[in-house]
């Protein structure tokens, strides 16, 4: 197959994918989105004879628009702009999970400091405030006291981009020092790992220690439902374990990084992803099950 790869930075994740694709004899068109123009009917990007394009843009804004254009041209793109739009925005993400009946942390959104403070007080301390767009655990705050909450709201309202005035307040989930990352292809788990840290943020990007994790049937089912909730595709589903022994899904990521998962797990993650991409190319981007 010929596969287009949208990027602006080649991380180790993309190198793993490129290596696997080339080893199998697939033709790859690397498309640096910074150098392209996207018109209403055509683009400078080399997509004309691609069977499939995979979006690996590092910048969410570019990912959202580039996939939207490619989809408009009729080019099958992983992930779809619809999935990207839901996953890129924590509000849309939370609403989609809730609507699909997937357990997800209680969340409220407010547009003023005063209303946000009411939401925070209603949750009680600690609770969490997050940017609606962002990744790698950046700009997330655990609010332990009223004074800390007031200071953070003041800073966000005064210093932030307008999106930071969309105050996304969430219950604090007292997880057992770890969360779970699952890479899934159209809802089918490929591999999973725990991310453990003494810090409340356990993201691998924040230095959380990773270890392979065997999903039970309940977690597998939640991954399927969470994937369906956002429109399916190549996704990173994040779960936490609650004190009650249940799972809660806090987000789904649409340009999932997997280098840490590939090292933590016995699964050859890039090989599994390329297996799935080959099937997707055959079906023109329609959902496929690998199990």
């Amino acid at each position: 197959m010929k596969l287009g790869l949208l990027y602006s930075r080649i991380r180790k994740d993309e190198k793993l994918l490129l290596s696997e694709l080339r080893d199998r004899g697939h033709e790859v068109a690397k498309i640096d989105v910074r150098k392209q123009r996207f018109g209403l009917n055509e683009t400078t990007a080399e997509i004309a004879d691609c069977d499939l394009v995979i979006d690996r843009c590092l910048a969410t804004s570019r990912s959202l628009y580039a996939t939207r254009f490619l989809s408009a041209y009729g080019v099958p793109v992983i992930n779809s702009p619809e999935t990207a739009a839901v996953c890129a925005d924590k509000v849309k993400n939370s609403l989609a999970l809730e609507r699909a009946g997937v357990p997800t942390p209680a969340t409220e959104v407010a547009f003023t400091k005063e209303a946000a403070m009411e939401a925070i007080e209603a949750f009680g301390y600690p609770c969490v405030i997050k940017p609606v767009v962002g990744s790698w655990g950046r700009l997330m705050a655990k609010l332990d006291t009223e004074t800390a909450a007031e200071a953070i709201l003041e800073h966000k309202a005064t210093l932030g981009h307008y999106e930071h005035k969309v105050f996304y307040v969430q219950e604090y989930v007292d997880k057992p020092g770890r969360d779970i990352r699952v890479l899934a292809c159209d809802g089918e788990p490929v591999a999973a790992m725990t991310r453990t840290s003494d810090h409340w943020l356990t993201n691998a990007a924040k230095g959380g220690e990773t270890a392979t994790f065997d999903l039970d049937d309940e977690a597998k089912e939640l991954v399927r439902k969470a994937s369906d909730a956002v429109g399916g595709g190549l996704l990173g589903v994040d779960l936490m374990e609650t004190k009650d022994g249940e799972y809660t899904v806090h987000e789904v990521n649409h340009t999932v990084e997997f280098k840490a998962l590939n090292e933590a797990s016995a699964v050859d993650v890039p090989a599994a992803v390329v297996d799935w991409l080959e099937l997707k190319a055959e079906t023109g981007g329609e959902a496929v099950m690998t199990a």
Partner: protein, 56 residues
Amino acid sequence: MTESECVECGGTVTLHDDLEVGEIVDCETCGAELEVVDVSPPVLDRAPELEEDWGE
């Protein structure tokens, strides 16, 4: 292994063989993050600064 010059400090940057355009390498002399903009021959430029919407 090949070599190129750091655009920040002028030091020599040693590069591995499977270099990709778009990849980021670090200058071991000054610590600058450098983007590979060509591979034959290798050409390096300053890497873009982290943006708020970067991530997964």
